[in-house]
Amino acid sequence: MGVSPFFRTIFQSHLFLGYLCYIVFMMLYCSVKRWPKLLKFYSYHKRIFLPVQDKGAQDDSSDPLLEEKDVFNFFFKRENRQQATDSVQQVLRKRGYKKTAYCGQVTSEEKIFYEKEKFSIFGSHFVHLAVAVLLLAGIITAWGGRFYDFYILEGETIPLKGTQALLTLEKFAVIPSATKERADEYASRLRINRPGKPIEWQTLKVNSPLRIDGVRLYQQRFNFNIDELRIAIFHENKDQPVTVLTMGINRRVVVPELNIALEVSDFLPDFYFDEKGQPSTRSHILRNPAGHLLIYSPANSSSLNQEQWIFRGGMPHAKSKDASERLIYKMDGVRSRYASGIKYARNPGEFLTYLGLILLVAGSFLSSYKFYRGLIVTIKNDISGITSSVSIRSMKCKNIFSLEKEVDEMVGKLNQMMEGL
């Protein structure tokens, strides 16, 4: 399921984005439509004990959470009514239930409504809303965002697109790791010049982007740019070079005194032989620079006479086939500049993305760790007037397993406390 470039373009096509817009619209519509019902349920405790005709909420009966189930029934002597009520209250409060509604002694019957973790009813709707917000952020980013990578050389100045700022890379620094195979850290020292504002200097590092006039810059990678290579040519067993050439990569240079032409076709900053025995670079740090030298003899020849890797300070690995022309080539110097690889990002959907992610996390915690529980406690005297009874009815809970466990524990505790009443 890796995404090929072909699919990347699909994700940014108008057709796909239009389809995404439709989904977002429908999700937002469903979400908005659902919220009044939720808010109504949130204030259900205000209506629970009202007579049916006053509730003004025929919709309530359709909410699955409002289904009730008997979980506890206990008879006790009428004179112990207060004690029984206190016991129930004590057990429920200890479990975190809050009394949210009360219906006074009508025909010697008391009804109390206890609730717990009520805010959790919004959890799944937060997740729903979050998904819609994230998709919306994605659409805004795809339509209005701009992302591209660029390289800037040390000392180079470029205008930053979409702003009036001029960006200069003053210095690029690499800190190699202890094993020196990788860079531990690398950073660009940037000078930002905006008209009418004082010049600013900022350091751009990996994982700490810079914000300039609504554009974010990210340190991504770096590379070498070889400005100049100096190659010294020696006769074998001679200390003084015959000549020292200054050349660039892939540029053929003629040496008239020796009637040869030289060209450096490849440059490796940290030369080593890889597992397959092929010349490669271990890192992008200029530690063991090597150039792949092509030698044409005579100078105007189009066919290659000799090729070899040349190093700084070391001896060449190969010698000329012709003993009379025993020349030794050495890398005398490298003038290089780092090129800092930076990502340019203008993302108008950034704020919405953060909002969506916050809603997503909050919603998933609420919907997974908190479960709304409602209990209706009814205490009434029986007709004979000798005994009273307390009954507890629980409202439906999403987490049946935990509710049953909690109810079992509460019932056990209540039976223990109310024994002998």
Binding site: F147, D184, E185, N207, S364, S368, N399
Partner: protein, 260 residues
């Protein structure tokens, strides 16, 4: 050293089974001893690794694997206590043994951290994922038990099946928010490091698939009353996708997460 830990967990597994069969208290004590010693040494190896690497060990497959296994042990222990179902511990040990045995075959050398990984988000992102994965590993074990009981004692053990089903969803409930935190932190970190919240990277796509499966599982549970063997199967599929996201993606696809 890790081999020693595997041996200790294995002995714990053997004595757990013997204790379950003969109901001997002595065997249970021996099992407890091997279990705690194995877990202690396991923890010691993690601390040793952290000292050696001079960072919290959550940066490559080997490190995440040993912490994943360690968390499975803890979670299975607490779940067994919370649900009063001791066999969860057995499932935990089996999953841990599989993970640790696999860890024996992968490169365990401490690697220097690349600059992109030098971020505090790493610990939130990977840490949250590992907690979620550990929870789902236990849900996976419970799902296998559920399906086995369902197949071999068809309709006869409804109470036990209901109970296991409840446990599966509780454990998924425990892990799902962490899966979401892992996804969200990864997205924020990607935006800070790579300049985009979402890069359509293979690992990201599979992580989203995992999230959608578990979100779908919970959604169906609450809205369509997903129950029974279907619920267990979905949990099973979810964990298989997790394993693929965790290990398979790196083997089969080029990914920006190649270091993990």
């Amino acid at each position: 050293m890790m081999t020693g830990v595997v041996v200790l967990y294995f002995l714990s597994l053997v004595f757990f089974l013997i204790a379950g069969k003969i109901r001997g208290k002595f065997c249970a004590v021996i099992e407890g001893f091997f279990f705690m010693t194995g877990w202690g040494f396991h923890g010691y190896l993690i601390v040793k690794r952290a000292i050696e690497a001079q960072r919290f060990p959550l940066t490559d497959t080997y490190e995440t694997l040993i912490i994943f296994a360690w968390l499975v042990v803890i979670l299975s222990f607490f779940s067994a206590v919370r649900f009063g179902f001791r066999w969860i511990r057995l499932l935990g040990i089996i999953v841990t043994l599989c993970l640790l045995t696999f860890s024996l075959f992968i490169n365990d050398a401490v690697q220097p951290l690349m600059p992109a990984l030098r971020s505090g988000w790493l610990y939130f992102h990977v840490g949250a994922y590992i907690i979620a994965y550990a929870s789902f590993a236990i849900a996976f074990g419970l799902s296998i038990v559920f399906i086995s009981i369902f197949l071999f004692n068809r309709g006869k053990q409804k109470a036990i099946l209901d109970s296991i089903e409840g446990m599966i969803f509780r454990v998924i409930d425990l892990g799902f928010p962490f899966l979401t935190v892992g996804l969200a932190c990864g997205s924020i970190w990607a935006s800070l490091s790579w300049g985009r919240f979402w890069n359509w990277d293979a690992k990201e796509v599979w992580a989203l698939t995992t999230w959608l499966i578990y979100a779908g599982c919970l959604h169906l549970r609450h809205t369509r009353n997903l129950r029974g063997v279907n619920a267990a199967l979905l949990s099973l599929i979810g964990f298989i996708v997790i394993l693929f996201t965790y290990i398979g993606v790196n083997l089969f696809f080029p990914t920006l997460h190649s270091y993990s």
